[in-house]
Symmetry: C2
Subunit: 197 residues, 2 copies
């Protein structure tokens, strides 16, 4: 380490731990930040400090928020009878961007996995079961189509009280997707779930 460069080397080392950045792009990002000290570096330092200070998981659903209950859980216009179960906050954001869903959420923060020891407790499933008992009629399992995702979906469906419907997102051809670029499994699923026009 060169004397007088410790702060910038520390910055590069930390930036390199972000997903999508390696040592080389972290160096590039650090230099970019120093060049844009007032426009980017100082505001970013402040934004990070602010997030560290104020953003917490919503006590109800696990979404990120500055409030104890996030804006979705606190919004009386959102349908409290529907809960959409997602793996993490990025999936919640993706659902919200679609503007297609008006119910509430439950963020697992992971998936059931015996190997790395992620069990029902870690995913807040007892809390979900409790929420469902308070007048929920449908639980939408918007989980990845992987083995862990489907294991988790089946587990959640099994712990739901009788009378609560468990559903999952439809599988099929993405809007704007070309058949030629789709995998066989997706085409098969789309064919089996075909609808009359």
């Amino acid at each position: 380490m060169t004397r007088g460069q410790e702060p910038i080397e520390k910055l590069i080392e930390l930036l390199a731990r972000l997903p999508g950045l390696g040592p080389r792009s972290a160096r590039r990002a650090a230099l970019h930040l120093v060049r844009k000290r007032d426009l980017l570096l100082a505001p970013l330092a402040e934004a990070m400090a602010e997030v560290a200070r104020s953003v917490r998981p919503c006590l109800e659903c696990g979404n990120l928020s500055t409030a104890e209950r996030c804006a979705i859980c606190a919004d009386p216009r959102r349908d409290a009878a529907q809960i959409c179960v997602v793996q993490d906050v990025a999936d919640l954001w993706a659902m919200e961007r679609s503007s297609a869903y008006r119910g509430r959420y439950h963020v697992l923060g992971g998936l059931l996995n015996a190997l790395d020891g992620t069990g029902p407790e870690e995913l807040g499933l007892p809390r979900l079961a409790e929420r469902v008992r308070e007048g929920v009629s449908e639980v939408i399992l918007a989980l990845p189509a992987t083995i862990d995702g489907q294991t988790t979906a089946h587990y959640v469906a099994d712990i739901l009280p009788e009378g609560v419907q468990a559903t999952s997102l439809a599988q099929g051809v993405p809007v704007g997707g070309e058949l030629d670029f789709l995998d066989d499994g997706t085409i098969g699923a789309a064919l089996r779930a075909r609808r009359s026009l």
Copy 2:
């Protein structure tokens, strides 16, 4: 913007302005940061604030440092008779990683370019000419092999006082490089500059 998520949306917006990150990877990075609040988010906020506070360009060469004169300019063991001219600090760091150079530097912070109005003043060339007059015998032009890079190299070579040697890095096959993957220009340059064993 969703109420209660303003700080994290602000953070994503700023992260997306880093080179190498787009809106999608900025979202992923922001979530990663929130998950690693104590290990990464808080230290990164502090590291950025520290760099914004303490790191400045060296008054002599333009390298980044917490001191007015960087460690290289202040080191009496570095040869003051050699100045290596580089485009920016990343190039200086690359030269230093090679441990092959024991002289001093001059960081231009750009290249001459008539279109975007980058002239000799912006690159600190008058200051370089002044430094050269103080006992420098060789100026190594380690500038990119682009039109702007070579224009700048020739300009710098022209303003050097008589008796000061202008040199450039050798062009040729990278160490460990396979001929099959090299462009024709590099192979041609390496052939013309061939040496006897």
